[in-house]
Amino acid sequence: MSEIRLQIDGKDVTAEEGTPLLEAARRAGIDIPALCYHEKLKPYGACRLCTVEIESRGRTRLVASCVYTVEEGLVVRTRSEKIDRIRKTLLELLLAHAPDAPTLKAWAAEYGADPDRFEKEPSFCIHCGLCVRYCAEVKGKNAIGFIDRGVRKEISFIPEIALQECENCKACFELCPTSYLQAAYVLTRSLAGKD
């Protein structure tokens, strides 16, 4: 594995080939907000909070730092007026669904996001996908999945599997940023006549 040298926020950083920019930045002490990233899971690139600006071969563009891997000579900027504006809007969009989520509230304070900018639709799930992906990739049980698409997309337990596996596992519970997962689990159990 070769060592790649790049620059993040003016700092010289080295990282192994194949390392996502987000990882490389965090190891260098630069924090980038991210909701759907987890070291044990394949990068997902869904929340877009980790968007950064990169410059290479004369071109500047915005990329998701959890997916984009380090390149020799890359210049990365994790904050800028535009990036901050985008993160602020993304947070405002998510806060309409989960106004009390602790991580969202903390970032909202940092980026000046207004939790009341958009009309509240408290569906809570912000589609980070951590629960679905953890159960599929780490536990291999596939007790929970996504259904439908777009604004109708939801997480959904498979009752037969969940009732068998989840009570003794619950590894995904601590991953959920909004605690919607726990609520969905309780609902699944009660619909099946348990508890």
Binding site: G45, L49, I86, T89, H127, D148, R149, V151
Partner: protein
């Protein structure tokens, strides 16, 4: 059935086929593309077959169901060869006349000819009809000449000559080079140079490479690919085989949307035919080149037209796009180098190999060589598919080919590029249509949908329509698209309902920037385009909706009131009879009035009021004039009004 083992076999068969066909023999081509079928073409075709059988003429006169020639507004379309006489809106009852007058007596059936709406002039030959005269139909022109179910018909018009030429005398690199030199740019929307895409795959490491036909054609209003794939599937297939040869691929896919069952049927049959003739499979035409193709149906998701989502669907998964930081021609389907091109792009390849890159670059502009097939639809007289050289002006397309706007209405804008594109206003009608000119104007070529809008079209509603479409089709994975478009949809809907607020436009622009910069895929990134381009060219409409609660086009239901002009009403009662809400008051010889409390703004009265009175009016942004007091509503005969 023949089987070709060498290119010479193919050419020998073609020569024999042609010598057995008499070019002077009468042949009646009936378009059986999906559009004409919906207008009754199969009944017309059956009527011809029945009548010929009845008269015992089957041996003397050929009749065939053919591919779509594009003049869908006037279907069913029938062309009689060898004279190329074109008949429009043919009904089964017309068959007897066509046979007796045109085929037997070589006379023309006047009433079935094209008549110019302005001059009243009639056109006899297909090539004389203004709709066709200004087109250059090098790709789609063969459709009306061939039975889409017959490989022999394709061979008779020169099909598979390019493949024979390539496999007998050109290396894969030479085929690639020719396509590169031709400057062929993707016809699906991106406009990326096809040759460069192919080269990237050819040079990528690994033995397994894929070539894919994107026949998902999701842009509403676009149906060029349907006509090509249904009407001349072998042309697309030949292009694909040539591409596979050039790239070094042994396996290809055709991804067709399941909403096009006829296209699925025709391409599937074409593949089976090609296999049995030895044009697909192992050692094609004895060249040592192996290649085969599989058809894969879409299942109803616009996002699957996006290349990475399409490949994910081919892998049997939901169509969620993947980041394109590493291009799919290097890492695509199954992580292998994959060349994905649009149906029309592939259909251009045999022409380029047959006639050469130099011929191709002579058509079109410097940056955009060749022709483009557009689907000209909406508020336009001649609706249908038009194939024109790149560089033709929008004005020529709309007025010379399309014959302008129906009902003497005023042109307002033309939308190109589907949900990823933008609107071009009247001031830019002399724009020369090519990839770069359209992007510079704030729109894009897209797949070729060209939707014409007139003075009755509300541009805010157009933006709302596209954003709403995309919220429905979004895969939902990333926040900027799923949540951002959702909020844009809400705001735009509010605005069309008269509930727009100060700050709405700024919020919309913020959300637009977030999607353009941070969305995961091209669907999300280009989603704000229709909003941004209508804001750029029609800002006054947005402001009227928000500040004055007025819809200048008199279209947004919540902002339009209907009233009856007492000067024009003759008391015919049509509106009263048809009103579903019982909101019209009136009687014989009484001016009718609309009760605004009961009116549901359905627009029925406006539709049914006879043209000669045109008494129902629309108004927006202010209250309708109050109705005359009851005692003043008697209709006075004009002769009595002194």
């Amino acid at each position: 059935m023949p089987r070709f083992h060498t290119p010479e076999d193919l050419e020998t068969f073609r020569r024999e086929l042609l010598s057995g066909r008499d070019p002077h023999k009468p042949c009646i081509s009936v378009c059986v593309g999906a559009g004409c079928l919906a207008s009754g073409a199969s009944e017309v075709l059956d009527a011809f077959r029945d009548e010929l059988a009845r008269q015992g003429l089957e041996a003397e006169v050929d009749v065939k169901g053919t591919g779509c020639p594009g003049f869908c507004e006037r279907g069913p379309v029938v062309v009689v060869y060898p004279e190329e006489i074109c008949y429009l809106q043919v009904k089964p009852e017309d068959v007897v006349d066509i046979l007796s007058q045109t085929v037997k007596e070589k006379k023309v059936v006047d009433r079935l000819l094209y008549e110019d709406p302005a001059s009243g002039e009639k056109a006899v030959k297909e090539s004389e009809i203004p709709f066709y005269r200004h087109q250059e139909r090098v790709v789609i022109g063969d459709n009306i000449r061939i039975d889409s179910r017959s490989l022999d018909d394709y061979l008779a018009v020169g099909g598979y000559a390019a493949l024979a030429k390539a496999l007998s005398g050109m290396t894969a690199e030479q085929v690639l080079e020719e396509v590169k030199r031709s400057n062929l740019r993707g016809r699906g929307g991106g406009g990326f140079p096809a040759g460069r895409k192919w080269e990237g795959s050819r040079n990528a490491p690994g033995d397994t490479k894929y070539v894919i036909v994107n026949a998902d054609e999701g842009d509403p209003g676009a149906f060029m690919d349907r006509a090509l794939l249904e009407g001349n599937p072998h042309a697309v297939l030949e292009g694909l085989i040539l591409g596979a040869y050039a790239v070094g691929s042994r396996e290809g896919f055709v991804y067709v949307r399941q909403e096009y069952p006829l296209a699925v049927e025709n391409i599937t049959r074409a593949i089976e035919q090609a296999r049995s003739y030895g044009l697909l499979g192992k050692d094609i035409l004895g060249s040592g080149f192996d290649f085969d193709v599989e058809v894969h149906k879409g299942a109803g998701a616009f996002v699957c037209g996006e290349s990475t989502a399409l490949m994910t669907a081919l892998e049997g998964r939901v169509g969620e796009p993947r980041p394109k930081y590493i291009r799919s021609n290097v890492r695509g389907l199954w992580e292998k180098p994959s060349v994905l091109n649009n149906v029309e792009t592939w259909a251009n390849v045999p022409l380029i190999i047959n006639k050469g890159a130099d011929w191709f670059t002579k058509i079109g502009t410097e940056g955009s060589a060749g022709t483009k097939i557009f689907s000209l639809v909406g508020k336009i007289n001649n609706t249908g598919l038009v194939e024109v050289p790149m560089g033709i002006t929008l004005s020529d397309i709309i007025y010379k080919i399309g014959s302008g706007i129906p009902g003497d209405k005023k042109f307002k804008a033309v939308q190109t590029g589907g949900p990823s594109g933008g609107c071009i206003p009247e001031s830019m009608l002399d724009l020369q249509v090519d990839f770069d000119a359209l992007s510079d104007a704030g729109s894009m070529m897209g797949s070729g949908g060209m939707i014409v809008m007139d003075e009755d079209t509300c541009m805010v509603d157009v933006a709302r329509y596209f954003i709403h479409f995309l919220t429905d089709e979004s895969c939902g994975k990333c926040v900027p698209c799923r949540e951002g478009l959702r909020q844009m949809d809400k705001i735009l809907t509010r605005i069309t309902e008269g509930k727009g607020k100060e700050g709405d436009l700024e919020t919309l622009q913020d959300l637009a920037e977030t999607a353009r910069e941070a969305a995961l895929c091209a669907l999300g990134k280009s989603a704000p385009n229709p909003f941004l381009s209508t804001l750029r060219h029609f800002r006054d409409e947005y402001e009227a909706h928000i500040q004055e609660k007025r819809c200048p086009a008199l279209s947004c239901k919540a902002l339009v009131a209907y009233w009856i002009d007492p000067e024009a009403c003759r008391g015919c009662g049509a509106c009263l009879r048809k009103c579903p809400a019982g909101a019209v008051e009136g009687g014989k010889k009484t001016i009718h009035v609309i009760d605004q409390e009961k009116c549901t703004r359905c627009g029925t009265c406006f539709e049914v009021c006879p043209d000669r009175y045109a008494a129902v009016r629309k108004i927006s942004g202010e209250d309708p004039p109050p109705p005359l007091p009851e005692d003043q509503r008697a209709i006075v005969k004009k002769s009595e009004k002194a």
